[in-house]
């Protein structure tokens, strides 16, 4: 029994068909608990007043935006190396989800930035890096849409995901160099003293878990759709042969 068994679309469909409702339900539950806890049962912060509460959307969305691209990079590599169709389709399925998380991160950031920094948008390194990440997502999605043959599209987008990852990483540090920003440091880390207070930290952890589960559920559902669409295409093509 190896993990690659799940690369078989049939096996994948069976397993995820069973898992999907549970993951979705758990995601809904965790998000509900985390957000309600965060929004209604935590005190206002000294510096930030009630605006701090957007952290429960902003931080998890931003984390997932990066995680989604990382997942696309890994699945693209698996497709290029082992030619598992499920892997390529999972990368395709994750891209729009990742883009939406990126946009949520940007929009909630703007909403938070307005009262705090007095501006909707600043060319702060983190914000700029996220904007660039959104552009990478757009290019990736557009390339999938433009190429007709699905295997060709999978190959090209995989190469783009790898090269794009390197350049997205470079951009991240280039913009840091280009402009020191307004953005506060990371809100979460294990080794720093200056973390958010425990009272915000626990609901935030719950929200992050919820976003991860939400991402998994959305990607599984979308991958299942892609597999079905691909299967349909293959069957139609096969009928045409005769």
């Amino acid at each position: 029994m190896s993990i690659w068994e799940y690369a078989n679309p049939k096996k994948f469909m069976q397993t995820t068909g069973f898992l999907l409702p549970w993951v979705s339900g758990l995601a809904g539950l965790t998000l509900a608990v985390g957000l309600i806890w965060g929004y209604f049962f935590t005190p206002d912060a000294d510096k930030f007043a009630s605006t701090v509460k957007i952290i429960y959307l902003h931080v998890p969305a931003a984390m997932m935006a990066i995680s989604a691209w990382t997942m696309m990079l890994v699945t693209s590599l698996i497709w290029l190396i082992r030619r598992h169709h499920v892997s390529a389709l999972a990368a395709k399925a994750a891209a729009p989800v990742g883009l939406v998380f990126t946009v949520i991160g940007l929009v909630t950031g703007a909403i938070w930035g307005q009262p705090m920094w007095g501006t909707w948008w600043a060319w702060d390194p983190r914000l700029t890096a996220f904007l660039i990440l959104a552009l990478f997502y757009l290019g990736y999605i557009a390339l999938w849409a433009a190429v007709e043959n699905p295997d060709t599209a999978a190959d090209l987008t995989s190469v783009l995901a790898i090269v794009g990852s390197v350049f997205a990483f470079l951009s991240r540090y280039a913009v840091l160099f280009w402009n020191q920003g307004l953005h506060q440091g990371a809100s979460l880390s294990l080794d720093k003293e200056e973390n958010v207070a425990d009272v915000y930290w626990f609901p935030l952890l719950v929200c992050i878990t919820g976003f991860v589960l939400l991402f998994v559920a959305l990607v599984l559902a979308r991958t299942r759709t892609e597999i079905r669409a691909r299967r349909l295409q293959a069957l139609i093509a096969r009928e045409r042969v005769a």
């Binding site: 690369a7 078989n8 679309p9 049939k10 030619r83 598992h84 169709h85 499920v86 007709e148 043959n149 699905p150 295997d151 691909r230 299967r231 293959a234 093509a237 096969r238 009928e239 045409r240 042969v241 005769a242």
Partner: protein, 209 residues
């Protein structure tokens, strides 16, 4: 010694299997003509043999650096002269057969003319002259005689006969008689079948078994 051997080859166009179970071997001095109705997959087969696309199943074996491919389009640059076009390919393949190639394909009078000012047939002759400057032994050709007149067809037939006499081999998709002693392979029986009738499965289908 076999110059080119193809075993149990299945090829796909845009992911759809078109031919399966194709097999043949080319010995030195032999020519093989591929026949079959339009859309059967002649071009796809030739591209696979030339190494431009991977086979769906089966093997293509050829001596390294022995195959040269002539596609529908000639790869002629219209702003370069005939001689410049040929010299470029001669340099790419590391030969110096430009003068002889122009003589053989009756291009000498056109040497300094820009390819933009050539007729379709003349351009085709230039494209075929590229095969001569490649210096390779196995010519894989896709409808080489398209837009050639009767004299040029005979001229090219003689060029291919010389190749065969010199120990080369040719794989040609054509409906025109080049005046060669060639075996004919009709591709119609190799048309890809439905999976339920023993057809090859594409990679995505395989995953579902």
């Amino acid at each position: 010694m076999t110059l080119l051997s193809v075993q149990d080859l299945a090829v796909a166009r845009a992911g759809v299997p078109v031919l399966q179970g194709v097999g043949f071997a080319l010995e030195p001095g032999r020519a093989l003509v591929l026949r079959g109705p339009n859309g059967i997959g002649k071009t796809t087969l030739l591209r696979t043999v030339a190494g431009l696309q991977p086979p769906l199943a089966g093997h293509v074996e050829a001596a390294p650096d022995s195959v040269t491919y002539a596609a529908h389009s000639d790869g002629v640059k219209s702003t370069l002269t005939v001689a410049e076009n040929l010299t470029f390919w001669a340099q790419v393949f590391g030969t110096d057969a430009v003068a002889t190639a122009m003589a053989r394909m009756n291009l000498r009078d056109l040497a300094d003319r820009r390819a933009a000012n050539l007729s379709a047939g003349q351009k085709r002759r230039l494209g075929l002259a590229r095969l001569l400057v490649s210096g390779r032994a196995v010519w894989v050709m896709d409808e080489p005689t398209a837009s050639l007149d009767v004299d040029s067809v005979q001229l090219f037939g003689a060029v291919v006969r010389d190749l065969l006499a010199a120990g080369g081999a040719a794989l040609i998709a054509t409906h025109i008689d080049l005046g060669l002693e060639a075996e004919v392979l009709d591709l119609t029986p190799f048309k890809a079948r439905k999976v339920s009738q023993g057809g090859v499965r594409s990679a995505f289908d395989e995953a579902f078994t």
